[in-house]
């Protein structure tokens, strides 16, 4: 059984073990919960296919499983999981409220805002809420008490069940730039125990960092093409910087060339599953059907992947 790379601890990894009391922080994990993120770097490599299939397989083995769709900009997990949604909650972020009557036009709020979210006119302030990060600086700095805070909704989180799997999903409202607060709201609803499968967004920037830094293990789904290899290398650097152990799932094996597998061998990245480039798998996906339901080889591969994830989980739980 190949061992995962456990690289240098990042500050977040250190926080996981040092901070014992906060129940607010999603970095803290009770030892009976295993958080597996499915990420990639490149889009369209098969994250949702693997994440939903893995969740279903783990549940069929009697594990307590939650599937969490962290791709809040373009969520697709619900298409395959077909959850019954039982609760839906808006995600609210703080924004400043300006009392024009009290405003003296001093401009201190606009000076202090690092995000260009405020424009100071002669006697009032224009706020660009989409740019606001909700830091509270403007309300702290105002000498006239003209700034209070209110909240506004930028998206929602939903919870429900999909058969034996607990389903958590989030959606960023169209036109909103920042996905991370919605992902944070989702991850606050992490279960206490069992296995949580986190379906990550594509790329390597803040939404991905937010998702992966809450994980005990990352499965990087990659395709053996030049773009696939290029983006996997970026994802691997990201995962290492955050100090989370990782393994690779090669999808569409047979397309492209052998450079991806050579890269994994050179880097000591365990390849935990190899899914073939089979048009039938793609066609099932296109219809919104879980490929494991119609493709025996795919189902066997996911079964072995689930076994690998669980046996790695024994090691993690004991840490």
């Amino acid at each position: 059984m190949p061992t995962f790379r456990r690289d240098l601890p990042s500050s977040r990894a250190v926080r996981r073990t040092d901070l014992a009391t906060s129940s607010e922080s999603s970095s803290i994990r009770p030892s009976s919960l295993m958080r597996v993120a499915v990420a990639s770097g490149k889009g369209g490599t098969g994250k949702t296919t693997v994440a939903t299939s893995l969740a279903g397989e783990l549940a069929s083995r009697g594990e307590k499983v939650a599937y969490i769709d962290c791709d809040v900009e373009a969520p697709n997990g619900h298409i395959f999981m077909r959850p019954s949604i039982t609760a839906s909650m808006p995600v609210e972020v703080p924004v400043p409220l300006f009392d024009d009557a009290k405003c003296t036009g001093c401009g201190k709020c606009c000076e202090v805002c690092r995000f260009n979210a405020l424009a100071c006119l002669k006697d009032r302030v224009l706020a660009f809420h989409e740019l606001c990060h909700g830091c509270g600086a403007c309300s702290m700095v105002c000498p006239a008490g003209a700034v209070t805070e209110t909240t506004r909704s930028i998206g929602l989180v939903e919870s429900g069940t999909a058969g034996a799997v607990d389903f958590l999903g989030g959606k960023l409202s169209v036109g909103e730039p920042m996905a991370t607060p919605v992902i944070r709201a989702l991850l606050k609803r992490m279960p206490e125990d069992g296995v949580a499968v986190l379906d990550a967004p594509p790329g390597a920037s803040c939404p991905v960092v937010e998702t992966i830094s809450s994980a005990d293990l990352v499965l990087l789904v990659a395709e053996p093409t030049p773009f696939g290899l290029n983006d996997l290398a970026i994802a691997v650097e990201t995962v290492r910087k955050l100090g989370v152990p990782a393994g690779v799932v090669v999808n569409r094996s047979g397309a492209g060339d052998g450079r991806l597998v050579e890269y994994c061998a050179r880097e000591g990245l365990p390849v935990l599953a190899v899914i073939p480039d089979d048009r039938k798998i793609a066609e099932a996906y296109a219809r919104g059907v879980m490929p494991a339901h119609v493709h025996d080889e795919f189902a066997r591969i996911i079964g072995r992947l689930a076994g690998a994830v669980l046996s790695e989980g024994v090691g993690i739980g004991a840490a």
Partner: protein, 299 residues
């Protein structure tokens, strides 16, 4: 100046493959890669770097160990869980988690000891290059860095400068997946969003969201379906949805292994072969040109 931005909603639909072919077919243009955290277009363009510039995305707080009074006001005020208290009983100062810090400066504001310094973070690099298909502006966002939207805006600004200086009238932008700040930063003020989608339920779901973003930004949009024959029913459903919204259907590209073969060889599809995918992409480019010349109405 016409700016064409290739987006998708869903990842992996073929944006970069289509953008590379557009770059081979277009003349008098600047090419820009705005997928700054997972850029791939350079793998087809083989750029020769002319210059590079550091990109400063924002600020990050740093707490001076000597000046810190260990009062904890920074930790109380930080909205992003970015300040770490020292281990209890320890003599260490408070410290900043560099991944969580958003650079807002609240800790600097509340610190009674002046122990917090806000430092500029170089979170990426901008490159201006010459490529085998023309001038190329691209960037790399640092690992686990933020402010990708700001870097996208910087790339587009630079591309416009290069176009002005070179007397070129078209900018071709390879965009990123999703609908968040990098995509919004790519689409604002663009002449046309070319949305590359795929005939899957996921593709259709995300197509609708990214088209809604374009609509919100008042950017015209047109759609093409890649790998369409993987599911002709969903491809048709996409066509009907576009019809209903008044979005031009630029064309449909069949599933063709030459797309991957071209990528492996480091060339665009239309340079690689005359197969079905290449023919379809050429026709899609003609349709794009038609829209930009005002021959057809974009939504």
């Amino acid at each position: 100046m016409k700016e064409i931005v290739v987006v998708s909603g869903k990842g992996g639909t073929g944006k970069t493959s289509v953008s590379a072919s557009f770059a081979a077919l277009a003349s008098d243009k600047v090419i820009a890669d705005c997928d700054v955290d997972a850029a791939d277009l350079h793998l087809v363009l083989a750029p020769r770097e002319l210059r590079r510039e550091p990109f400063v995305g924002g600020l990050r707080a740093r707490i001076s160990e000597d000046a810190c009074m260990r009062c904890g006001r920074c930790e109380e005020s930080c909205r992003f869980d970015a300040i770490e208290a020292p281990a209890s009983g320890g003599a260490d100062a408070y410290s900043v988690d560099p991944f969580a810090c958003e650079g807002c400066g609240v800790c600097e504001f509340v610190c009674p000891a002046g122990a917090v310094v806000m430092e500029e973070v170089q979170s990426g690099e901008l490159f201006v290059s010459e490529s085998r298909l023309g001038p190329f502006v691209h960037a790399k966002l640092g690992i686990a860095e933020e402010n990708s939207g700001k870097l996208v805006t910087t790339v587009r600004k630079e591309a416009r400068k290069v176009a002005d200086e070179g007397g070129l009238d078209t900018i071709l932008v390879d965009g990123s997946p999703g609908i968040g700040c990098p995509v919004i930063a790519s689409l604002t003020g663009a002449s046309l969003a070319v949305v590359v989608t795929e005939p899957t339920l996921s593709g259709l779901h995300d197509l609708k969201r990214v088209c809604e973003v374009a609509e919100t930004l008042r950017t015209s949009a047109a759609v093409c379906v890649n790998k369409w024959d993987l599911n002709p029913d969903v491809a048709d459903a996409i066509g009907e949805w576009c019809d209903g919204k008044g979005l031009p259907m630029l064309g449909r590209v069949p599933y063709d292994s030459s797309v991957t073969d071209a990528q492996v060889e480091g060339v665009s599809v239309v340079e690689h072969s005359e197969g079905p995918a290449a023919t379809a992409i050429r026709s899609i480019w003609d349709a794009v040109v038609g829209i930009l010349n005002g021959d057809t109405e974009a939504a």
